[in-house]
């Protein structure tokens, strides 16, 4: 057997165990009773350690060297080899013990966060977060040493390979240069128009039925996935069995529905990954920014459009037994609700325009937090100051809606937040290219025909796995590197024209 084939066999086993970890992770968030948490944290740590040991296996050193000299490999195999090399050297940089502690502490910290956030108990949260941050810092430093990067950049690179904080700062500074003003203008512009939430309550079961119908219309394959409910919406599972979740607010059905559509974008990406490369690193999704671009392309670019809501309004009325004559159920009102801009405290509830400001705030805090120039004790004050500056909303003593609002830091995810807004910028750029390539895309969407759009995404993005870098993939399909100007023009067109 060639060294390359040995590597493929070995990583197929890794892929299988990652499959198990993905399903168990979904279970933990969507199914597990809370009393199962402590035992689960230990079990997940054991599984993650097992995976880590496999990836670190001593035999890989020789296999990697031999495979690198193998002239018979095709492009996919060569890219797969590169991914395996990357995974191996990354894993070798992290000792077993660190991996086990990170897994167990992050699960425990996340579990504690769920109840402490509810109770606004920041002081009780601090020691666990401190412990997790210290482990995350150790991981970042070790990865930084390996990659020749600063600690924070090493984490960014985990979530979106090739990304660094200087580039992110450049993009984010461009956004900061116009977004606060634009938010002012849009709020002013929207203040005089009619907009009203249809009257609920909207039964969860009806919301679910509507969500399932729209997932189906978008092309979600229910033979290889399902929809459930969790505390925070997410997309988990594996390409052959994608698990998306949402939550249903009985007073506002658009929240849960947009969650479903967003996660459907993630799911379409997973389901469209190259079939021939299942359980190999090259068959996985590219970084999280590309992943987020797929969810935002579906949610923001496609489903919050006037065209989509023209198509969906009758389905919504049918789902909740509403009358067509009721003006709150008109496509135009539903569009206005879906594009309403308001300065709020909560990132996940934020609109398209204020969302990047929430992300920039987190980016500007987590970097000094990781580097140690900002302490956890000082975090609420720093958060409050930035919320006032960027969004004119104080959060003093309101930890639940301040530093404790997002799970990420409490799950050990530092360096992840920027991918949301980079994803939004990429989504605008992909969508523009898809619009150029597809005959009258807006009309197709208004008729509920998503096949041309999904075909384009499948061909240009999903089916490519990790064959190319995120940067090369975007340039190949859109003809240019990431350009925040495309995102800006999209926002101007939607909100100010």
């Amino acid at each position: 057997m060639s060294a390359y084939v040995e590597l493929e066999d070995h990583f197929r086993q890794v892929g299988h165990l990652q499959h198990i970890a993905a399903i168990t992770g979904w279970d933990e968030a969507a199914m597990m009773p809370s009393g199962g948490g402590a035992a689960r944290a230990e079990a997940m740590a054991a599984l993650n350690t097992t995976i880590h040991r496999l990836v670190c296996d001593d035999r890989l050193q020789d296999w990697l060297a031999d495979a690198a000299a193998d002239q018979a490999l095709n492009d996919w195999q060569r890219a797969n080899l590169g991914e395996i090399q990357r995974a191996w050297s990354r894993a070798r940089a992290l000792p077993d013990d660190l991996v086990a502690r990170l897994s167990s502490v992050s699960v425990r910290c996340e579990q504690a966060w769920r109840s402490l956030r509810e109770a606004n108990e920041w002081l009780s949260m601090q020691p666990l977060l401190e412990e997790l941050l210290s482990l995350t810092r150790e991981k970042a430093q070790r990865l930084g040493d390996l990659k020749g990067l600063a600690a924070y950049d090493a984490l960014l690179d985990e979530y979106e390979p090739g990304l660094d904080s200087a580039t992110v700062s450049g993009w984010f500074n461009e956004l900061k240069s116009f977004l606060p003003d634009m938010v002012d203008k849009v709020i002013e512009k929207q203040s005089t128009r009619y907009v009203k939430m249809p009257t609920g309550p909207f039964r969860a079961e009806q919301q679910r039925t509507l969500g399932l119908k729209l997932m189906q219309t978008l092309g979600f394959d229910f033979d290889h996935g399902r929809l459930d409910v969790s505390h925070h919406p997410f997309c988990g599972g594996v390409p052959d069995d994608v698990r998306i979740t949402t939550r249903f607010n009985e007073q506002n059905f658009l929240e849960g529905l947009m969650g479903v559509l967003h996660e459907t974008g993630h799911a379409m990406y997973e389901q469209g990954l190259p079939q021939a490369w299942r359980n190999q690193p090259v068959g996985n999704a590219l970084g999280m920014a590309v992943h987020e671009s797929q969810s935002l392309l579906v949610e923001m670019q496609t489903c919050r459009s006037r065209e989509f809501l023209t198509f969906a309004a009758p389905l919504m009325r049918e789902a909740f037994g509403a009358r067509e004559q009721d003006p709150t159920w008109s496509a135009e009102n539903l569009y206005r609700l879906s594009t309403r801009v308001r300065r709020g405290l909560i990132r996940v509830d934020a609109d398209e325009l204020t969302y990047p400001l929430h992300v920039i705030l987190r980016f500007e805090l987590e970097q000094p937090l990781l580097e140690g120039s900002l302490t956890i004790a000082d975090l609420p004050e720093a958060w409050d100051a930035r919320m006032r500056a960027l969004l004119a909303r104080p959060t003093h003593d309101n930890h639940r809606d301040g530093v404790m609002q997002d799970v990420h830091w409490y799950a050990g995810l530092i360096g992840y937040f920027p991918t949301y807004t980079i994803g939004a910028m990429k989504a605008a750029q992909w969508f523009q290219s898809a619009s150029d390539a597809i005959d009258d895309l807006p009309a197709q969407i208004a008729q509920g025909n998503f096949i041309p759009l999904m075909d384009w995404l499948r061909q240009n993005i999903h089916s490519q796995g990790r064959l190319h870098s995120a940067q090369a993939l975007l340039a190949a399909a859109t003809g240019s590197p990431l350009d925040p100007g495309v995102f800006r023009r999209h926002l101007e067109h939607r909100y100010l024209s």
Copy 2:
């Protein structure tokens, strides 16, 4: 660190991965979309192989030898050491490759069975079953060589340590000596009394609510478990997170409800296992016959009694909005429905009296099947002949309700069926002892007070883990070895007095 502590640490990791396997197994049956099956089969095989390798670890040889000489071990530790020794030598007898193929073929075979049974397609089922049987035979022979047992006995011993086919044959022959006659008499006796199913449909959501309420009343801890729906009811998960399932028939709510109560019996056992010995072999449940005795003690001995149905009838009426005056909802009618005896084709739908005959049939077929004196091609005819003899019901060409009705053989479980009826006999014996020990147990049950019964079970059975053998545990709590006469007297009292 002492050799014994090394062993505990090592088996804690095994326990963690078994936790993961249990949750993923539950997911496969209760949650997974069918298209995810092929990938899942491979993933589960990889996990099972990983667990197998851990159990086989070379280092155990020395640790086991050193620990055996350790004079400081207490009774629990010594029993744990015995379980570890047993697990290790068992695993060493099975090559990695066999374990991986058994895992993958049994998952594929079970998945195929689900659709082929629906379609009554026995011919398409045969090759996969043949493949699985051949692997199971290899496993049985290897375990038999290790234990000095015949192949089939080696499998019996897997599901209930210490059980052998000669003993089982003795008990089953005793049952065969009186059951067919008794079935005749009871059917004759019941033929003239009033009994009528309340009129449905019974909405699944209402059935679920009722099931949850009765689980709670019996003492199920919802902070450490949940109830879901699956194709076949089962109890999965781990002691800290027990997953039970049922299925809801909208025409007959008693089916799903009795499924819930049965699985609750299993769950109470799991939740009551010794907290101090989580993730150690001695902390696991004893064999499957003891497990089944706990489910049958709750379902058959407790919940199909006149006393329980006196307590539960008002709750049932409330759940479905029925009128008290309706005679189909009287406690007496519900008791008659719950103890109605009929010769049927399906084991899982069978009543308490005919159920052992279904089990005996399978016991008498699977032994020659494993040994090779009965071929898979001849199985339907042999099944049909025995069904005619034991239950006077032909199954010719009706494979769906004949050889294909149960998942067990299609999941690689041979030697498992006898544990159902041994469990029924044990349940009768435990229950009699509990009745002797508890002040007016029937009255407690009629009032919905299950605390004394559950306390007795917890103390005498659940909390004992695998400290004693199944045989010793029964003798300690009931004062005698398994006595089929106790079961016979229970049946005579309930059905003929």
